[in-house]
C-alpha cells in the first residue's frame, strides 16, 4: 500500500481513514457530476417499474393503478385539457399534494443538510414531533394575541424546539463522539413517547374539553395559517408551501454562499482536513444538527397550524415523515431544487394513494399506501448504489465519444 493511494473508483472511500468521498454527501456529489439530473430520473423510473411488477404479480393492472394515483395526486390539474368538474377535483387533490409537500421539503432539507456535513439525520421524525408539540401548545394557548404574531411565535417556538432536539444529537457527537444515527433514532422514540404522555389520557397537555380523547387542545382560529387556494373549510392550500420554498432558498444560500455552509461542507467531505485548517469540527456538528432540527421543527408547525390544528396520540405514532425525508433528500441529491422536486413527487405519491384521493374501484388505497412504501424503499436502494449508476454512465459516455477506455487523464506533474 502506497501512501499516495490511486484514485478509487467513483470517488468511493479509499479506506477506513480515507478522507474525501467517504460520506453519503460526497458520493452524491460525485454522482451528480457523473450522471447529471438524468440519474435521479432513471432511479425513479426503475423504482416505479419494480413497483409495477409487484402490482402486476398480485393480479392488478399497473398502468390503471398509476393513472389513478396520478389523478389522485391532482397533478393532472397541470394538464390544460382537464376541464370542468374534473378540473375542480384535480385542484382539490393538488392542494392536498402541496399541503403534504411543504413539510416534506423542510424535513428533507433537514436530512440533506446533515448529509452535506457527513452526518446521517434519521431523527427528522423526532425533531418534527418536537416542533409540532410546541406549535400546538403555543397555538392553542395565548388566545387574544394578534394572529400574525401568534403564528410567528408558534413557528419560532417549533423551530427552536426542533433545534434543541437535533442539537442534542449534534452536541453528543461533538462532545462524546456518539454516533448520530443511533442517538437520532433513540430521540425519535423518546419524542414519540413524551408526546403520547403529554396528549394521552390524563396528560398535562391533553384536551381540556374532551377528557376521554387522547388529543391535544385545538389551535385557536387566529393562529391558523391563512388558506390562499381552495376552501378553508375543506382543507384548502395554506401558505406553508411558501414558507417551505423560502426555506429551500435559504438552504441554498446557507450551503453554497455562507461561511457556516462552507465549514459544514468541508467537515462533511473531510473532517480531519477541516480541523487542520482551523474549522471547529465539533461546533460545526452541533450547529448543523441544530439547523436540521430547526427545519424539521418548522415542518411540524406547518402541519399543526396549517391543517391538523390538533395532535392525537395516533398521529404521533403514525408519522413517517422523517424517514420519508431520507428518501427525498437522497433522490434530490441534497440540493435545494432537487429536494423540492423530489418532495413534490413523494407528496403526490402520498396524497395520490390516500383514502381520500384514490379511486378505490381501481386500486385499494390500503394496498397503494404500501406500494408507496415499496417505491420509496426501491428509490433509496437504487440511490444507495449510485456509484454503480455513475460508472455505467461513464462507460456509456466514453463509448459514445469513442475515447479509449482508461485514457490517462490530464497533465504531467510540474
Amino acid at each position: 500500500m502506497s501512501t499516495d493511494a490511486t484514485p478509487a473508483p467513483g470517488g468511493a472511500p479509499a479506506g477506513p481513514a480515507g478522507g474525501g468521498g467517504a460520506t453519503v454527501g460526497a458520493r452524491l456529489t460525485e454522482t451528480l457530476r457523473e450522471g447529471g439530473p438524468l440519474v435521479p430520473v432513471i432511479t425513479v423510473l426503475l423504482a416505479f417499474l419494480a413497483g409495477g411488477v409487484v402490482v402486476a404479480l398480485t393480479g392488478h393492472d399497473p398502468l390503471a393503478t398509476y393513472k389513478a394515483v396520478f389523478e389522485g395526486s391532482g397533478l393532472n390539474w397541470l394538464l390544460p385539457w382537464v376541464t370542468g368538474e374534473d378540473r375542480d377535483v384535480a385542484a382539490t387533490n393538488l392542494q392536498q399534494t402541496l399541503i403534504i409537500t411543504a413539510p416534506l421539503i423542510l424535513v428533507s432539507l433537514a436530512v440533506g443538510y446533515a448529509f452535506r456535513a457527513g452526518l446521517f439525520n434519521i431523527g427528522g421524525t423526532g425533531q418534527y414531533i418536537a416542533g409540532s408539540v410546541i406549535a400546538v401548545w403555543i397555538g392553542s394557548t395565548m388566545a387574544g394575541l394578534p394572529g400574525w404574531l401568534h403564528i410567528v411565535l408558534a413557528m419560532v417556538g417549533a423551530t427552536l424546539a426542533g433545534a434543541v432536539w437535533g442539537g442534542i444529537s449534534g452536541g453528543l457527537r461533538a462532545t462524546t463522539g456518539a454516533n448520530e444515527v443511533i442517538t437520532t433514532i433513540m430521540l425519535n422514540y423518546i419524542a414519540r413517547w413524551v408526546a403520547i404522555f403529554l396528549f394521552g389520557l390524563g396528560g398535562p397537555l391533553q384536551n381540556s374539553a374532551q377528557p376521554d380523547v387522547p388529543v391535544s387542545n385545538d389551535v385557536v382560529n387566529d393562529a391558523k395559517l391563512p388558506v390562499f387556494w381552495g376552501d378553508p373549510e375543506l382543507q384548502g392550500l395554506h401558505i406553508g408551501i411558501f414558507v417551505a420554498l423560502a426555506a429551500a432558498v435559504v438552504y441554498w444560500v446557507l450551503l453554497n454562499r455562507s461561511k457556516k455552509g462552507f465549514e459544514a461542507r468541508a467537515v462533511g467531505f473531510n473532517p480531519e482536513a477541516a480541523r487542520y485548517s482551523g474549522i471547529a469540527v465539533g461546533k460545526t456538528y452541533f450547529l448543523v444538527m441544530a439547523t436540521c432540527g430547526a427545519l424539521a421543527g418548522l415542518a411540524g408547525s406547518l402541519d399543526v397550524l396549517g391543517w391538523q390544528f390538533r395532535i392525537a396520540t395516533n398521529d404521533v405514532q403514525a408519522t413517517e415523515l422523517g424517514f420519508l425525508g431520507i428518501a427525498v433528500a437522497l433522490l434530490g441529491r441534497n440540493r435545494a431544487f432537487g429536494t423540492c422536486v423530489a418532495a413534490l413527487l413523494f407528496g403526490a405519491l402520498l396524497s395520490g394513494t390516500s383514502v381520500r384521493n384514490l379511486d378505490p374501484s381501481v386500486f385499494p388505497p390500503e394496498l397503494a399506501q404500501n406500494l408507496t412504501r415499496i417505491i420509496q424503499g426501491l428509490v433509496v436502494l437504487i440511490v444507495s448504489a449510485d456509484v454503480l449508476i455513475a460508472m455505467v454512465f461513464k462507460r456509456v459516455r466514453r463509448r459514445r465519444e469513442g475515447a479509449p477506455v482508461g485514457a490517462a487523464p490530464a497533465e504531467v506533474t510540474v
Binding site: A14, F120, N370
Partner: protein, 418 residues
C-alpha cells in the same frame, strides 16, 4: 533450511509477535476495585426490593439507609477513578432509593396488582425474546463490519412470512422456516448492496426497512384483507416444566414458549461461535481490520456475506416468534420499532452476547412493567416505554462508559485500494 530463509521469515512475520501497543487489558467484571460498585448496585436494588411485595416494608427509612450506604460506595468508586462503574452504582443507589420512596407512598393493593414477580418475569422473558434474536443478528453482522439497521425490516419479514407459511402449510415449524428464509433473502440484498456494491450501509438498511414494511403490508392486505390472519394459525408450542414449586422463578419458567428457550440457547451458541472458535475470531478480525485479514488469505467478502445473511435469519426468527409464538397473528408494521430497540440493546451490550442478553432482558422488563403499570398509573406506564431509549442514549453518549463498535463497522471494504 537456510539461515537466510529463517531469518527472512522471521522478519516477514515477526510483527505478529511484536504488537505495537501495550496489551489491551481484558475487562474484568469482578476486579477488586469494582467490588464496592457491585455492592452499591446490589444495595440500591435491595433498597427498592424490600418495599415491594412480598416484603412490603411500609416505611422509607430502611431503604434510605441502604441507599445512603450505596451512595457512599458509589462516590468512593467515582473518586477512585472508576467512572463507568461509579456512574452505574450512582444510578442504582439513587434509582433504588427513589423507587423505594415511590413504593412506600403507593397503596399496598396497587403494589400487589403490579408486582407479581412470577408473571413479571415470564412477561419479561417473552418481551425480551424477539429483541434477543434480532440483537444477536445485529451483533453477528456488525462484528463482521456491516451495520445492519434493517433488523427492523428483517424481523417484519420473518413475522409475516412465518405467519403466512404456518397458515399455508398448517405447521408452525414450516412457518418458522419460511420466516427465517424470508429474512435471509432480505439480508442477501443487504449483503449485495453493502458488501459488493459498497453502498452506504445505513442508506441500504433504511431502504430495506421501507421495502419490508411495504411488501409485508401489501401482501398482508392483498392476501388477508379485512379479516386478518386466521384465528387457527399454527403456533409455536409452549414448554411446560414442573417447576411451579420453585418459587416465583419456577413460576416464571414453568410455561414458556419454545422459542424463548431458543433465544437463550442462541445467545450461548453465538457467544461460543464468535468468541470461542477460530472462525469467530476471523469474523471479528474482519470487523476490525479487513485489509489485514485479506492479506493473510481470508475471504473478507465471503465472511461478510455469511454474517449478514445469518443476521437476517436471526432477526427473522425474532419476528417469527412475535407473530406465531407471542401475538398469534400478524398485523401491519407489527414489529413497531423492535428492530431498533434490538439495535439499541446490542449497542447497550457493547457488541457482546451476554451483555446484549442483559440489555434485552432489561428492555423486556421495562416493557413487562409498562404493560402492568396502567393499573397503577397510565402516565407512568407511558413514560416507562421511553426508558430503553433513554438508557441507550446515555450508553452511546458514553456518560457511563463508552461503547466502542468494531473498528471497521460500517466501512465498506474495497479490495483494490492500494
Amino acid at each position: 533450511m537456510s539461515v537466510a530463509r529463517q531469518d527472512f521469515t522471521e522478519r516477514l512475520w515477526g510483527s505478529f509477535k511484536r504488537p505495537e501497543g501495550p496489551e489491551p487489558s481484558r475487562r474484568k467484571a469482578f476486579a477488586r476495585e469494582h467490588i464496592p460498585a457491585w455492592i452499591a448496585i446490589a444495595l440500591g436494588f435491595l433498597a427498592w426490593l424490600i418495599t415491594l411485595p412480598p416484603f412490603l416494608v411500609r416505611t422509607w427509612i430502611p431503604s434510605l439507609i441502604l441507599g445512603l450506604i450505596a451512595f457512599t460506595l458509589a462516590l468512593s468508586t467515582l473518586y477512585g477513578g472508576e467512572k463507568r462503574y461509579g456512574a452505574w452504582a450512582m444510578i442504582a443507589a439513587l434509582g433504588g432509593t427513589a423507587g423505594a420512596y415511590g413504593a412506600t407512598r403507593s397503596g399496598v393493593a396497587n403494589l400487589e396488582a403490579v408486582v407479581v414477580w412470577g408473571a413479571l418475569m415470564a412477561a419479561m422473558l417473552r418481551y425480551a425474546t424477539p429483541l434477543t434474536f434480532a440483537a444477536l443478528g445485529g451483533l453477528v453482522s456488525e462484528r463482521s463490519g456491516v451495520v445492519n439497521i434493517a433488523l427492523e425490516g428483517m424481523m417484519l419479514m420473518g413475522a409475516f412470512f412465518a405467519a403466512w407459511g404456518a397458515d399455508k402449510s398448517d405447521s408452525w415449524l414450516i412457518g418458522i422456516l419460511v420466516g427465517v428464509l424470508s429474512g435471509m433473502a432480505l439480508a442477501s440484498i443487504h449483503a449485495v448492496f453493502a458488501v459488493s456494491l459498497r453502498a452506504d450501509q445505513i442508506v441500504v438498511g433504511t431502504a430495506l426497512n421501507f421495502i419490508a414494511l411495504g411488501l409485508t403490508g401489501y401482501l398482508y392486505v392483498d392476501i388477508y384483507g379485512d379479516q386478518g390472519t386466521p384465528d387457527n394459525l399454527p403456533q409455536v408450542p409452549e414448554l411446560k416444566l414442573p417447576t411451579d414449586s420453585l418459587g416465583f422463578i419456577g413460576e416464571a419458567i414453568s410455561n414458556l414458549n419454545l422459542l424463548v428457550w431458543g433465544s437463550l440457547l442462541a445467545v450461548l451458541l453465538v457467544w461460543l461461535y464468535v468468541f470461542r472458535t477460530t472462525r469467530g475470531l476471523r469474523l471479528r478480525a474482519v470487523g476490525e481490520n479487513p485489509r489485514a485479514v485479506e492479506t493473510v488469505g481470508i475471504d473478507v467478502f465471503k465472511i461478510r456475506y455469511l454474517a449478514v445473511i445469518a443476521s437476517g435469519g436471526l432477526a427473522a426468527l425474532g419476528g417469527a416468534f412475535l407473530s406465531i409464538g407471542f401475538v398469534h397473528s400478524f398485523g401491519e408494521n407489527m414489529t413497531a420499532g423492535r428492530g431498533f430497540i434490538a439495535l439499541a440493546a446490542m449497542i447497550f451490550g457493547r457488541w457482546r452476547p451476554w451483555a446484549t442478553l442483559g440489555a434485552t432482558l432489561l428492555f423486556g422488563f421495562s416493557s413487562a412493567l409498562a404493560q402492568r403499570l396502567p393499573e397503577f398509573s397510565e402516565q407512568a406506564a407511558t413514560l416507562f416505554q421511553a426508558l430503553p431509549y433513554v438508557l441507550t442514549l446515555i450508553a452511546v453518549a458514553g456518560l457511563v462508559g463508552r461503547s466502542t463498535p468494531p473498528a471497521a463497522d460500517g466501512v465498506p471494504y474495497q479490495r483494490e485500494s492500494g
